[in-house]
């Protein structure tokens, strides 16, 4: 099976810091791949490189086996890769609907839309409401309220819903539950399972081991800017995972392959 | 060896056509005499510090003489003294220093007189109507620089208005004055100021303007309400567009000055001084060399001497 998204030898420097140090990566169709690692290990930089938010200094990225170059996050989105960044990437003053459709707005049919490029606000609102309800994430009272009036949890929910609604090939979630309460985290885990059920593979970055071991099919352990090993959560304990990622224990050779 | 003679010209701004022409006159004369000329200017009328910087630069570069139109006639005196102490001939152009003898020589028009001439002309043209005229004053800007005050007060004097404190306007109580507004000396300001004063009193029939661009703007405002033919506009400067406007009936009369002459005379004086040390002599009976002001109008009145717009064209400078 060829990986749907893969990377080889990614390198990214920030001034004197090497955030990615010849890092490899593979995501297979239909799987939930968790990426775990210490703070500053380079996890966010890796997924930024995969989603066009950062241009790696070296290395190659392949989508369905074809080499690709994403110059902007927009390029990656067009290729069907949807990402929820650690910082959420929302425009606080704009509405929920505006945010969900940012960069892929729906235009009105006919003259107004084609020539004057008028947006179809009604249709976008309908779609946004439907997606939020479909996913059963939460009851948003007013689809036009600015995102800044939402609580942290609701905001994260909107970001995740956006990714789930538009991600046709890959959905990437960077610490989607970091600031969330117990109940809110639960809903996100359910959502991940819903998305996988649709056959779309997911990359999940999280520091929460129980969550990782609950939903992941494979776990990519990231350390010092590169992939240390990939483990199967069914054959390994959380203790093993933590030991590998903190450097307390070295992984056995064969673990490096799938 | 004349190339070694360096002259400086320091004007108030380099955006006003008046000073542009003055510089042109100076560089022509300098070229004829084979001298080098450096020109400096402030950013806005009243920008005194830039002129101080410029004089210091001329001292540093070893100039033989400086032609200066001072933004602040008394404040500049210390810098002028410094230049003269360094053996530089300093000639005031257009605007006499305060005191006049702070400069080695002065080639100037009298801005107060320029105002007075148009004031007298306006009064004479209106005849009996002058007694209940409605006069609008379109001045330079809120900082009331001296040229503006001198012309404004000169106009009042000529028109027969008690000017009160001659160093500022706005303190008069003559009921014929509708009001003062500022124009920045350009068309846009002239138009807006005229509109403002017209709303205040639609019966305005005399308009004093600081310069010809302001007059052109005022004319646009009057034309917009169809009153361009029953209002007298007077102005100062006598630049070519201004004189053309006199010919076209936009401006009734303007006081013409001769910046090209001032500059040419100034450069010649510096050349003379640098070659044999002779100092220029003032006009007989005055403490400066008067380069003259003439009233340009196609509707002459008996009381005031004037030249026609056609004659003005030959002498104009813009």
């Amino acid at each position: 099976m060829t990986p749907i998204l893969s990377a080889k030898g990614l390198v990214k420097h920030y001034g004197r810091v090497t955030a990615l140090d010849h890092c490899d990566f593979e995501l297979y169709p239909g799987e939930v791949l968790a990426v775990i690692g210490d703070n500053g290990a380079g996890k966010s930089t890796l997924i930024k490189a995969l989603s066009g938010a950062v241009i790696p200094d070296e290395g190659e990225i392949r989508l369905n086996g074809e080499p690709v170059r994403f110059a902007t996050p927009h390029d990656a989105r067009r290729a069907g890769i949807e990402t929820v960044y650690q910082t959420l990437a929302m425009s606080p003053a704009l509405s929920i609907a505006d945010n969900m459709f940012m960069g892929r707005e729906i235009r009105k049919p006919g003259f107004m839309g084609r020539v004057l490029r008028q947006l179809d606000h009604k249709e976008m609102e309908r779609f946004a409401r439907e997606k939020l309800n479909d996913l059963g994430l939460m009851t948003i009272q007013n689809i036009n309220q600015p995102v800044e009036t939402l609580s942290g949890g609701q905001r994260q929910g909107v970001a995740v819903a956006r990714a789930a609604a538009f991600g046709s090939k890959v959905v990437i979630l960077d610490e989607p539950t970091a600031a969330l309460g117990v109940k809110e985290s639960r809903r996100v885990l359910e959502l991940i399972q819903d998305v996988r059920a649709k056959g779309i593979p997911i990359i999940l970055i999280s520091h929460n081991m129980p969550h990782v071991f609950e939903v992941a099919d494979r776990v990519h352990v990231h350390r010092l800017g590169r992939r240390l090993c990939v483990i199967d959560p069914k054959n390994h304990s959380m203790s093993d995972a933590v030991a590998y990622m903190t450097g307390a224990k070295a992984p056995e050779e064969e673990l490096n392959a799938v | 060896q004349d190339e070694d003679i360096l002259a400086c010209i320091v004007t108030k701004t380099d955006t006003n056509p008046f000073f542009v022409k003055m510089r042109e006159g100076a560089s022509q004369a300098a070229e004829e005499l084979g001298m080098t000329l450096n020109s400096y200017a402030g950013t806005v009328d009243g920008d005194h510090e830039s002129q101080v910087d410029a004089i210091e630069t001329c001292i540093a570069s070893g100039a033989a003489g400086i032609l200066l139109t001072a933004s602040d006639t008394s404040a500049i005196v210390s810098s002028v003294q410094q230049a003269r102490d360094a053996g530089i001939l300093v000639i005031a152009l257009d605007t006499p220093l305060d005191p006049v003898d702070a400069a080695d020589a002065t080639f100037a028009t009298d801005n107060f007189l320029a105002g007075e001439l148009i004031g007298e002309w306006a009064a004479a043209t209106m005849g009996d109507g002058a007694a209940d005229a409605h006069i609008a004053f379109l001045d330079l800007n809120v900082s009331q620089p001296t040229v503006g005050v001198l012309r404004d007060q000169g106009f009042m004097q000529g028109f027969g208005i008690d000017i009160g404190d001659p160093n500022r306007y706005g303190d008069e109580d003559d009921p014929r004055i509708v009001g003062h507004d500022v124009t920045q000396g350009n068309e846009e300001g002239g138009r807006t100021a005229m509109e403002n004063l017209l709303t205040q009193d639609p019966m305005i029939d005399v308009v004093y303007t600081i310069n010809e661009p302001a007059a052109a703007g005022a004319y646009e405002a009057l034309r917009a309400i169809g009153r361009e033919n029953d209002v007298l506009i007077v102005s100062v400067d006598g630049g070519c567009p201004g004189v053309q406007n006199v010919a076209d009936g936009v401006i009734g009369a303007t006081s013409q000055q001769y910046p090209l002459d001032m500059a040419r005379l100034g450069i010649e004086a510096i050349h003379q001084y640098a070659t044999d040390g002779t100092l220029p002599q003032p006009t007989e009976g005055k403490d400066f060399t008067d380069t003259g002001v003439q009233l340009v109008t196609d509707a002459p009145v008996d009381a005031v001497e004037s030249i026609s717009a056609e004659e003005g064209q030959d002498l104009c400078w813009g």
Binding site: R77, T87, S91, N99, M102, G103, L119 | V142, Q200
Partner: protein, 354 residues
């Protein structure tokens, strides 16, 4: 699954829940007013505008409260109004454009000189002038977006560059209204008048109003408009959500430059002539209008309609104070106070998060 405790059971089964509701506060009248104003940002300057017209109308009477005077205000603010529309776009992206006045006057000079100095056909000369404005804007935009320089500094620099270019290129020559009228009257198009009752309108005034309404529509109803707000709100977030932030920025500055080009055309209409010393204070005046109109200098918030009201407020104040006999220096003083007061009111309203 290894070693996971089951404390999450109670949240595992989804229960039908209503979203958390806090006891809604009994809103006082003041709070309700604040909330309404908060929801519609252009309302504040509109109210201030109506109030100032009413007050000056009462104080001064018919001389002020007449169709003639009120439409005069429109004519007097048209240049600043058009330039402020351009400034609004830039400020919505959290930028600022100090070079607007310089672009305006340079464009008008290019139109005039191309027609008169080189004898280029007037429509072509006009197009060159507008192109010049757009080009200047594009330079600003490129420096801001591609070189990541702060807009304040970029436009502080280009302000001086464009203005010096204007003086050097024009040789400080004015082209007289009479000559333009005779040979290139199209340049004065924006000055053409028509009357409805005592009210006097010009093409320039109509252009200003149509421009602002058009931009308001674009900002609200097109993807590009939403992107402008998103970039101003949080440029990085917008970029990450798939907006091409650089292209949006360059687009905004270029459009702003083009609008300034139109302002240059309108300027010829208003003053009749082409004069390189015009529009000197347009940068400060346009920022003032934008700020009084309630657009945040931090970007992403506010409505361009507010800018139009902001420009009109300043116009009403200037004319009103003048009619009351305040001299120019006092007018200057009160406009200063007005700026601070207008923003203080705005800030008070914004304190209420809806």
């Amino acid at each position: 699954m290894t070693g996971e405790s089951d404390y999450e059971t109670s949240v595992r089964e989804r229960r039908t829940e209503t979203p958390a509701e806090f006891g809604s506060r009994r809103a006082g009248l003041m709070t309700r007013v604040q909330n309404t104003l908060h929801a519609t940002p252009a309302l504040v300057p509109l109210i201030v505008l109506i109030a100032s017209i009413a007050i000056f109308g009462l104080l001064i009477g018919d001389r002020f409260f007449s169709p003639f005077s009120l439409t005069l205000v429109l004519q007097q603010v048209q240049i600043v109004g058009i330039v402020a529309a351009a400034q609004s776009l830039v400020i919505l992206t959290a930028g600022i454009d100090l070079s607007v006045g310089a672009i305006t006057v340079l464009s008008s000079v290019v139109m005039g000189q191309f027609a008169f100095r080189y004898g280029i056909p007037v429509p072509l000369a006009l197009a060159c002038g507008l192109g010049c404005g757009a080009l200047c804007g594009a330079i600003n935009g490129t420096l801001v977006a591609k070189m990541k320089l702060p807009p304040f500094i970029v436009t502080l620099g280009t302000w001086q560059v464009f203005l010096a270019t204007n003086y050097l290129y024009s040789r400080n020559e004015t082209i007289r209204a009479q000559d333009i009228q005779a040979e290139a009257s199209l340049l004065q198009l924006f000055g053409a008048k028509f009357q409805i009752g005592g009210a006097v309108f010009t093409v320039g005034v109509v252009f200003m109003v149509v421009l602002v309404l058009g931009l308001a529509w674009i900002l609200r109803s097109t993807a590009w408009g939403r992107h402008v707000y998103a970039v101003g709100d949080d440029a990085e977030a917008a970029q990450l959500s798939g907006v091409n932030a650089d292209r949006t920025l360059i687009g905004v500055y270029t459009l702003a430059g083009l609008i300034c080009g139109f302002a240059g055309w309108a300027l010829i209409g208003r003053i009749g002539s082409v004069s390189p010393t015009s529009a000197y204070e347009a940068n400060i005046e346009s920022i003032t209008a934008v700020v009084i109109g309630g657009i945040s200098l931090f970007g992403g918030r506010g409505s361009i309609l507010g800018t139009l009201f902001g420009a009109l407020i300043v116009g009403v104040f200037s004319l009103g104070l003048r009619l009351m006999g305040a001299d120019a220096q006092w007018t200057y003083f009160f406009i200063g106070v007005l700026i601070i007061a207008a923003v203080a009111v705005d800030q008070w309203i914004r304190k209420v998060s809806a």
